[in-house]
Symmetry: D2
């Protein structure tokens, strides 16, 4: 009987909840999300616009903030409860990753801000506004009360955020942070011939991955590879490709199926240049508490994606902000 | 700011892993699972046949056991770790639901057996055989090493088990057991006009539900409403309907979309009469640690399923074993 | 060798091109088609609004005309060429079904108007405006030049008209007209126990059916059972069901698969009450020039649709205009 | 009013019905079609195996013939009737393309054999065996009597043959043959910078194309680019990609959407090296009797397929038989 030695990991971080994207053309970025991705605008505050995906139980999913250059701002994570939040903050402070408490912002309460070793900005919180509780009085209600907003039936019909893929100068360090500070579990990774991982996929719950780090070949820190949003069916991605084609959005690669994690994908650039993935995992979950991480070699990667598509060059070179 | 009072629930039970079905025509039931549902037979032991769904990381997904009447036998749950297993057993014993340890069986190690208040049989364990580790030497390996078995490309192509829906004489008691003894979280429920729930959907992780209790109108105990299996896309369910049509399998209702939980579904009876659901949840997850359970009234239920299909009478009357 | 005796039928009528719907709430009907079905408004003339489906090579697909009651107005058919038009008119006149020439209207030229034995109004023509030739200068062009309009990515994304299903007091007479006067070929039919057909499906080309007659149980003449529109994939119909659910459109029945013709379907009522079908035939075609019509008995019909859905009562009783 | 000058074309050739493929590994080719493509073997005769796709109303769809090298043998076309057959043969003989009558073979009667200018072998016939009439007594019958065989629910579940894409040394000559001798209508084409077409897509009925010629860059004659088979949904193609991946079949390119004709496609090589396409056209048809052919320039082609996939090199170089 093969007995695993792992399991029993802490589950203090419940899920990825929202992400902030910087844009030098914020209205174009907002239009991309609202018209083509089917988000709704739920608030404006200063240079920022808050956008909501129709099945997000919280107040916002994407915050678009005007900036001189594209890139990723804050990533919000929701704690598994008030005690989990305290435990996690204590752990971060004890291990030298401590940050600061802020009052929160549109839709979310008191938030603990910190950075991963690569400099990406995170906010961890418990108190949150439920979309249904605060928005249903003034905004359209869905026909089925077990979803936040009416199904938009428009463009890509994005249901929810799925994951963030960060570029990091030191992938092992960034991955260790996800594991040791946030309680993430490694599900798959790319391991270079020298044995060093160049990309690591971590999950928090049953989804196959939530937070990913990919080696930044430029050696820069704090950059974004892509933010991914989930749609219900692979057919939604095929249809979205036609929507993007008509709208003149740059389609980088796909639709196709990743060998790693088997996700069906499409990559486009929103108007500011941030790479956006549409993804569908089918019914695939990683349920094992002691999941054995799957490692992929450079040789295996050379075979291309699941059905043979070669990885496009820009996938290795394009990140935001651009490196001068 | 709406602050939730819940969260921080124990996460000792990781996931539903397998189920035992009784059949008075076991070879026909096995043929249904192997030929039409695309399971593979992985072991035989006495009157039982062990069947594996292609993306189950463990050794088996369904155990078919010859018996005088159809129905559900044991439900296996995997603990979140060795400490979680101990904690949970201690909790069960302390709260009067204690059972017994057994050595385990094909594919799984030492197992703690207990019953819910309605008499359904459960087994909780940690040690398990990984399909990849024990079967790849003698059985076909998949093209992609992040799945257990080759994609079958046959019949309904079931990826994994999804949930069990039990019939229970006392639904509130059965639900309380899932919450208090197993750490489940109520996501949706049907509440009768007298305020008493007649069906409760509980989840353990991010999936929208794993264990469900529905009122047994006959007042019997320990019966089964249905076992559900997940496919990757709604299209898989439409195709499966043609497969069942050709095979002469009784299609009870569907394909359609549930209002409750929004699952796309198809219900059939396997040859022994146990109701089997094929389901696809799209990208829907319940991520909130403090999810507000959605309650449906009899009046709302009267509208039928999401797109108006009236619930078929047998859905309320058929369970296994039949009541004499 | 089984040698067919048929074949060599005239092919003078090329295809169904457009239909006129009467509505007592014409703006609501137009809104249904534009917002939910993704048609575009291309012209207004008097009480009529002309609507275009994105892959219709001609100028319009549906003409909505204000009227005191719902129902079907004219059905337009395009001839296979100028000689075919002349031949067909000559044939109609010779066989006692002659009508009158009119100058045509928005988008189509000189048109020969006539009626089928049940009183339905038809227009046969050759000269037509190509959408691309007349509309691309002032309206959005598609990204791919082999379609008329940009893919809308909105609501049901209807590609084209598919078929018209008329109610007729005398189905055999109406069917004989399609065969003898229009050159249609019977592909499937429902035959009552007395041997008389109560529904007949005729096609003109390779599509499995274009013009259908169903027995009008009220004995009325000239009424409509439904007009059907084609979408690309079955998934489009599932998504459209959510769109209609959110919009409060009455979903009569479906999605499901017809046993007859195997079409995947969804039936809704547009705001005036005219029944609208969304359909997808997959890759099914009837290519045989000597196709043996498939006949369905009442007993076979009693089994329900392909996957067992019982035919809903209103499907047998609802037609437009309503019978007082 | 834009009046077309065309239309009224002869419709003597009803449809593409079957194709013969040469294979130096005929049993492997048969296994590919039976196990992975879901054809059934219906006859053997000498070195040939006759295979049937489940919705083909005739006796066979593909004839696999053992040969020293891969490539295409005969293409069978069914006439629109006995008179159409006579007319067409008379026309072929009068225009210098006359061939010979043979008695026919498995499933089809007296056949007129001829060649196109590039040397591809054709058989035109009227008398045919209906699968239902001759096979239902001894082989499984479908659940729905409006299809030939039971839905296989296996592998790629091919419904029917869709088109043949020939390589030709002289594309304009080959295209003119399709138009003038067979009554085909040009729907789309690639036109080189010198104004000469390098690929032409012709259809016979309402399908967007049936017979295609692509320039053979080697200057050889009589070769094959690919044979295509239709599946019902795009999802079937995605699933088939997984089936081929598991089976070790070479996937050349796709799944993706062609810009030309907008077909969703996947290209694989069967074991002998003949390129096989799986295709789905959605609900797209070319209904206009005077369809304006769509022409694509080299510059437009350089943009890649509809969603940006670059055309893979082997698509321009691989044909069968290989050129020494």
């Amino acid at each position: 009987m093969s007995s695993s030695v792992s399991g029993d990991r802490p589950r203090d971080v419940a899920h990825l909840s929202a992400v902030e994207l910087f844009s030098h053309v914020p209205e174009e970025t907002v239009d991309f999300f609202v018209r083509l991705m089917a988000f709704s605008e739920v608030a404006r505050d200063g240079d920022s616009v808050y956008l909501h995906a129709w099945d997000d139980y919280e107040r916002f999913t994407v915050k678009v903030t005007g900036a001189s250059r594209p890139g990723i701002g804050r990533t919000w994570l929701r704690a598994a409860g008030p005690q989990a939040l305290e435990r996690r903050v204590e752990h971060l402070e004890r291990t030298g990753f401590g940050g600061t408490w802020v009052d929160g912002e549109v839709g979310i309460g008191r938030t603990y801000l910190f950075h991963d070793p690569d400099g990406h900005d995170f906010g961890l919180y418990w108190d949150t506004e439920w979309y249904a509780e605060t928005q249903w009085d003034e905004r359209p209600r869905p026909a089925l009360k077990n979803q936040a907003e009416p199904f938009p039936g428009r463009g890509a019909n994005i249901r929810r955020i799925d994951h963030v893929n960060y570029l990091a100068a030191d992938v092992p360090a960034a991955g260790a942070f996800l594991r040791d500070q946030l309680g993430g579990q490694l599900t798959e990774q790319i391991v270079q011939d020298d044995g060093v991982p160049s990309a690591v996929w971590y999950h928090l719950g049953e989804k196959t991955y939530d937070l990913v780090h990919t080696a930044d070949r430029t050696g820069s820190s704090g950059r974004l590879h892509h933010v991914a949003f989930a749609v219900d069916q692979r057919e939604d991605i095929l249809r979205a490709a036609d929507v993007f084609l008509e709208a003149g959005v740059h389609i980088e690669t796909g639709p196709h199926k990743h060998a790693i994690q088997q996700t069906f994908f499409l990559y486009v650039y929103e108007p500011a240049g941030n790479r956006i993935e549409l993804c569908n995992a089918g019914a695939r979950l990683v349920l094992a508490p002691d999941w054995r991480p799957v490692s992929w070699t450079a040789a295996e990667r050379a075979k291309g994606q699941a059905w043979g598509l070669k990885t496009i060059d820009t996938f290795h070179t394009h990140g935001t902000p651009p490196v001068d």
